[in-house]
């Protein structure tokens, strides 16, 4: 615009505002550069702010003894460049096996397409190639077995997939799979009532075991499975991937540095409020029963040692609802909570447990409670663990470690908040260096940053849990890391993170809480007789 008017014309100072009289006077040039000092002031302010924020953060970190905390470094590839081929058989190919397959490096072609559309495929393809060949799939349901075969033959694999031309084979019975010479290790992802027997049989067949939680549903099973694994040379890993989340590394440090003070209470919760969350899963989105009938499901094998009942699509998909197949909330969800606490504090088996609850909302044919409270006492450690579960309200209550000086909330992210009546932080609180109404330390792996003084948004999102973690700047599936831990130990020796001893402690703790609920009384652990009394 105004191009024609821009012809330079001699003018005087008085009319210098007019575009018609644009002449380069000294004053005009100076005026035109007016923004530059503003930019300078801005840059100065920015540096000052950066330095102030850094100093404030550093003050808190120094105070906490966390000044050396950094973003986690590269995880070692303990298996060397690529480990020797490991041949794995999967027993039970439901939704959990699907997730485990991804962690091992296999994805169903439909999921590959879906993931490509969502733009997450590259992330998965960047996952380390564990050089696992899935050579066997065993499932009592033809449709699930077929899905398993298709997944293994997916066509696209991280790092080019395993070094093998071995074909995957379907087995109709897991005993046949255990007899196969083409299998070194098994992944057990069946309903809970098979876990113990399958583990025992696999160990006897000399196969390494990755078993999904919960490990067992009776004391007899637990002792038998524990002894069998303990007296063997196989590598056992329980499916508790949660401690592989990078926030745990920081949580361990916080515990080690005693930042929370004396911890006397830990509160773990389950907060769900959907039919799916309450294990009603036999209907599809249109409300029609999901596939599966007497012809396509080997019902006798599915029941195993459990009492005979006629085929039921409800029981097949929603087995968690019955005590014959599961310990319900305790086995399915409390196990994760206990694992998280035990891996951090090594609390082990409680001295006593009392549980109470009932079926208050989901009035179907279930036996398991939908509201459950279990209190675990550790008098020697001078602390109590409370598990509070509700399947009819989804208010997020988190998982909180309560100490005299601070509380730590630990989920997919972590935040530590000083206690207003803390002894240790009393002076800092008085001086305003620490504000007990905000987290003094928080870490959210997905935002990638370590924050000593959280922003409002950070505070808000710190409470949300995640299934992925961030390692070396890459989004990483924690299940993959957990499988890698197991595989590395098989190849190079060592004990995996969720080993048989932890599985035993967890098993006893769960069964104590279960027994207390069933028998409506307080139960104790007798370590000498190895018995819940």
């Amino acid at each position: 615009m105004a191009g024609k008017k821009n012809k330079p014309v001699q003018g005087n100072e008085a009319s210098s505002h007019s575009e018609k009289k644009q002449v380069l006077t000294r004053r005009g040039v100076l005026k035109s550069l007016a923004g530059i000092p503003v930019l300078g002031v801005f840059a100065y302010g920015l540096l000052e702010k950066q330095s102030y924020d850094h100093q404030k953060k550093q003050n808190v970190l120094n105070e906490l003894g966390l000044d050396d905390i950094k973003r986690p470094g590269i995880i070692k590839n303990t298996a060397g460049k690529k480990g020797s081929l490991l041949r794995v058989g999967i027993v039970g190919f439901g939704s959990r096996a699907n997730a485990l397959s991804r962690g091992m490096g296999f994805m169903h072609p439909k999921d590959i397409e879906f993931s490509r559309k969502r733009g997450t495929l590259d992330n998965w393809l960047a996952q380390e190639n564990l050089n696992i060949a899935v050579t066997g799939i065993c499932d009592v349901f033809d449709l699930h077995a077929q899905k398993g075969l298709e997944t293994v033959r997916g066509g696209l694999y991280p790092g080019g997939g395993p070094d093998t031309t071995l074909e995957v084979k379907r087995f109709r019975h897991y005993h046949e799979m255990l007899e196969s010479k083409d299998i070194d290790a098994v992944v057990i992802a069946t309903p809970e009532h098979h876990h113990a027997q399958m583990t025992i049989d696999a160990v006897h067949a000399g196969k390494h075991v990755y078993c999904e939680k919960s490990f067992t549903r009776t004391e007899e099973e637990l002792y038998a499975a524990y002894d069998t694994v303990k007296n063997s040379k196989i590598v056992f890993q329980l499916g508790h991937q949660i401690a592989k989340n990078i926030v745990f590394k920081h949580a361990r440090k916080i515990i080690k540095k005693d930042i929370l003070g004396k911890i006397t209470l830990i509160e773990a919760t389950t907060n769900r409020n959907t039919a799916h969350g309450a294990w009603i899963r036999h209907l599809d989105k249109q409300g029609n029963p999901k596939p599966g009938d007497k012809k396509s499901i080997d019902w006798a094998q599915w029941l195993g040692s459990r009492p005979y009942v006629p085929f039921s699509i409800d029981r097949y998909y929603n087995w968690t609802k019955w005590f014959d197949y599961s310990t319900g909330l305790l086995g399915q969800l409390f196990t994760h909570e206990f694992d998280a606490v035990n891996q951090l504090l090594h609390i082990g088996i409680p001295e006593s447990v009392v549980s109470s609850g009932g079926i208050y909302y989901w009035k179907d044919n279930r036996e398991i409670p939908d509201v459950l409270q279990s209190v675990f006492e550790y008098p020697e450690r001078e602390l109590t663990l409370v598990y509070s579960a509700n399947l009819a309200n989804s208010r997020q209550r988190g998982r909180v470690f309560m100490g005299h000086d601070a509380s730590m909330e630990l989920g997919g992210s972590l935040s530590v908040t000083a206690d207003i009546n803390s002894t240790r932080y009393k002076d800092k609180i008085a001086k305003g260096i620490i504000d007990p109404s905000y987290p003094m330390f928080s870490y959210n792996p997905l935002s990638g940053g370590i924050d000593a003084v959280s922003s409002a948004t950070e505070k808000y999102y710190a409470s949300r849990g995640l299934t992925d973690t961030f390692i070396n700047g890459k989004r990483t599936d924690v299940t993959h890391l957990h499988i890698k831990d197991w595989v590395d130990c098989i190849r190079n020796g060592g004990t995996p993170g969720a080993n048989i001893d932890l599985a035993f402690e967890e098993g006893v703790t769960v069964l104590m809480a279960h027994k207390s609920y069933i028998e409506k009384r307080r139960v104790k652990w007798d370590p000498v007789k190895r018995k819940i009394v």
Binding site: K31, S447, T457
Partner: protein
């Protein structure tokens, strides 16, 4: 467009202050995003309601697009901020800024019946600070201040000089 560039000094000063302040704010928004390593517009987009909700969902479902949006946002804000402060390509900066802010506004408008899980820092009914800042940039765009107080003075001289000497500039290059 009819141009009337004879603001009084006080008018010019007021407009220039407005331009500098908005520039400062936008520049710092951009720099803050640049300096926080894990920043992503994802959390903002998740909250999106009303007419841009579908678009936001599409962006969120596609990591590549989300990354591009993040990059454009960060550098767009920085460029707009610098432009407004220096008075360089001011009209382009002001119009782009107004549009960008208007998109932010449309993503989370404080309309009756729309509720957000992130609390806002003030109380709004239909009009929010974002909308006001957007319109303020329109004011900056239509009342030029940068030919007097900004590097655009040089830019316009260069352009008029080119015109004078019939220098051909091919902008499609």
């Amino acid at each position: 467009m009819k141009t009337n560039n004879t603001n009084t000094t006080i008018q010019s000063v007021a407009l220039i202050i407005l331009r500098l302040l908005i520039g400062w704010h936008i520049l710092f928004e951009g720099i803050s995003k640049l300096l926080s390593p894990g920043w992503s517009s994802a959390e903002f987009l998740k909250e999106s309601k009303w007419i841009l909700e579908g678009f936001s969902r599409w962006v969120l479902s596609n990591q590549g697009v989300l990354n591009a949006i993040d990059l454009l946002n960060t550098w767009g804000l920085i460029a707009i901020g610098v432009g407004l402060i220096l008075g360089l390509f001011t009209r382009t900066a002001a119009i782009s800024g107004a549009l960008l802010l208007f998109i932010y506004y449309l993503s989370n408008p404080p309309l009756i019946g729309l509720e957000y899980s992130i609390p806002t820092e003030g109380n709004y009914l239909v009009v929010s600070k974002t909308l006001i800042e957007s319109v303020a940039l329109l004011v900056i765009a239509v009342f030029p201040t940068s030919r007097g107080f900004g590097l655009d003075m040089f830019v316009s001289r260069i352009f008029s000089a080119m015109k004078l000497f019939k220098v051909k500039v091919d902008f499609r290059e």
